[in-house]
């Protein structure tokens, strides 16, 4: 994975809570066997209705999505962060994220940042009022900055290190093969094997 440290760009607001993964990428697009190419299908049904916020010219090219709480609830499909990334987003800011979606974002190299409701509200309003406003999501300093504000955020230190270093998580786990082997040698013998 390529290292990720800082994203600077314009914001697009989806001012809704509980946006589920079925909306982010509907099931008919999960039949692909590649990791890329999902961008055109992002929020497919919502965009089909016309006039969806992501299709407004003033938000074209936005790289930071600002949205409501519990974003990404529902299924485990990693196609959801893939679609957001392929569409052009590099960071997502929300008051909270569903657990599996959050993990999937980090694996995809998408910065998912949690800020308090009040600060997210400010960003959503700012994006709507001044679509040209720029923000920087800085993983190094752990803050979201814009003109006249800087909001600090917490992030899991290990995920942060993996993103900043562009580390291959499988490679990291493989450093501990001897410990894995030792664990395996002590597993209970009644545990089932699939044969």
């Amino acid at each position: 994975m390529d290292p990720v440290s800082r994203v600077t760009g314009r914001m697009a607001p989806i001012d809704r809570a509980d946006v589920d993964t079925d909306q982010i990428i509907p099931k008919q697009f999960l039949k692909r066997i590649e990791r890329t190419g999902y961008g055109p299908f992002l929020f497919f049904d919502w965009r089909a209705g016309g006039d969806f916020v992501l299709d407004k010219p003033e938000h074209a090219g936005a790289s930071v999505l600002v949205t409501g709480a519990n974003f990404g609830c529902g299924s485990s499909r990693e196609h959801a962060p893939w679609a957001l990334r392929d569409f052009g987003f590099k960071a997502i800011i929300a008051p909270s994220f569903a657990d599996i979606f959050l993990a999937n974002c980090f694996k995809t190299g998408l910065l998912a940042v949690t800020l308090p409701d009040r600060q997210v509200r400010h960003l959503i309003d700012l994006a709507a009022e001044d679509p040209a406003a720029q923000v920087t999501v800085d993983l190094e300093t752990q803050e979201v900055r814009g003109e006249g504000f800087a909001y600090g955020f917490a992030v899991d230190p290990f995920s942060r290190e993996c993103l900043l270093g562009g580390l291959d998580e499988i490679g990291l786990v493989e450093k501990h093969l001897s410990e894995i082997g030792a664990y395996e040698s002590h597993r209970q013998e009644w545990l089932p094997a699939v044969k």
Partner: protein, 458 residues
Amino acid sequence: MPRTIAQKLWDAHVVRVAPGEPDLLYVDLHLVHEVTSPQAFEGLRLSGRHVRRPDLTLATMDHNVPTKGGIKAADDLSRRQMELLAENCKREAIPLYQIGSRHQGIVHVIGPELGLTQPGMVIVCGDSHTSTHGAFGALAFGIGTSEVELVLATQCLPQKRLGDLAVTVSGELPLGVTAKDIVLGVIGRTGISQGQGHLVEYRGSAIRALSMEGRMTVCNMSIEWGAKAGMIAPDDTTFAYLHGRPSAPKGAAWEAALDYWRSLTSDEGASFDGETSIDASQLEPHVTWGTNPGQVVPVTGRVPQPRSDTDERALKYMDLVPGTALADIAIDRVFIGSCTNARIEDLRAAASVIRGRHVHPKVRAMVVPGSMTVKRAAEDEGLDLVFKAAGFEWRNAGCSMCLGMNTDILAPGERCASTSNRNFEGRQGSGGRTHLMSPPMAAAAAVTGHVVDVRELL
């Protein structure tokens, strides 16, 4: 220090602990299906890696299988995904239950029925309803495709330690009220995100009284209130279900396993970060009215006044007016199926409602058994004849209309009484409207043509 069952399961699977890093957990069983695995296998191939423990990995086809006509009936992309799964499993020597196999079925149905899901295990799958397996006192949760690749390669998963929640369900369920109503009742109280970052233990007399299948229904929907996993301490009900199943321990190993399994309860004095209590005796059959599982009311209730933008949007999408009695909502389709409610007891409960009755002329109804094993068991009991005589379509096993990846979908505007787990917009078909409920409730809706309190038909 007293520990919760979740903490015991966690501790027993820690391969490595290091300061500032997530714990490295060992995975006892990795379940794989066609939709979330192709990119993971491709990743392995590109990096020259192989599956570390094919003997702890089981694959099945479920998400996009046609429920009639076999693999030939699948669209090109779906067929390609299934063929690719077969190729990947062959290359990596992973056992696969493909279409046509006696044991093919929904991944969360076949694990338990084969006896592969056992107390004390860590089980993962690239599917959020993996929480189902927690019914056995296992730590089971859904993962994304990158994590699928990681587990295929290493049989391990780095995980940050999570908090514990308890849901205590006391009392006794009234007639006509099911495990589905317990979990919908829980979600109605907690909302759909309260479980975030937590492992949940369900306990109390009403949980103890549930069969294993009922317990699976409850744990299955843990993810619908945001929990990473749900679990129930194993007991004699668990052991009786497992005994004699193909992959369950035998002889002396069974006795040794039992000794360990009996230790898998939360210790007296173990602390939880939060607790929700429900009196089962006060529960009624529940029906969702909105577009998430937390938008739910008892069937005797009415569509509520909106309290948020989310509620407003849901009412609009569902084409419902606040104050409407749930029982006045006419339906077009009925789906009895999914990893939540398509096991043999679910089919028996539905069949008992429709026996001697007929599907309403304006309704199209289908039953999709959770596995081919469930289908055979139902046919052995003659349940298929009951459903078919009533006008239900009787299909082969798969996820089917729960998520509509195959051709079993709602047309825009169609309204469905469904035993599945998600009523999100478009979930069962673009523009389709889903009302979640129990199998007997869905059966009752099929025969009356509208949402109805099944207790009136018993």
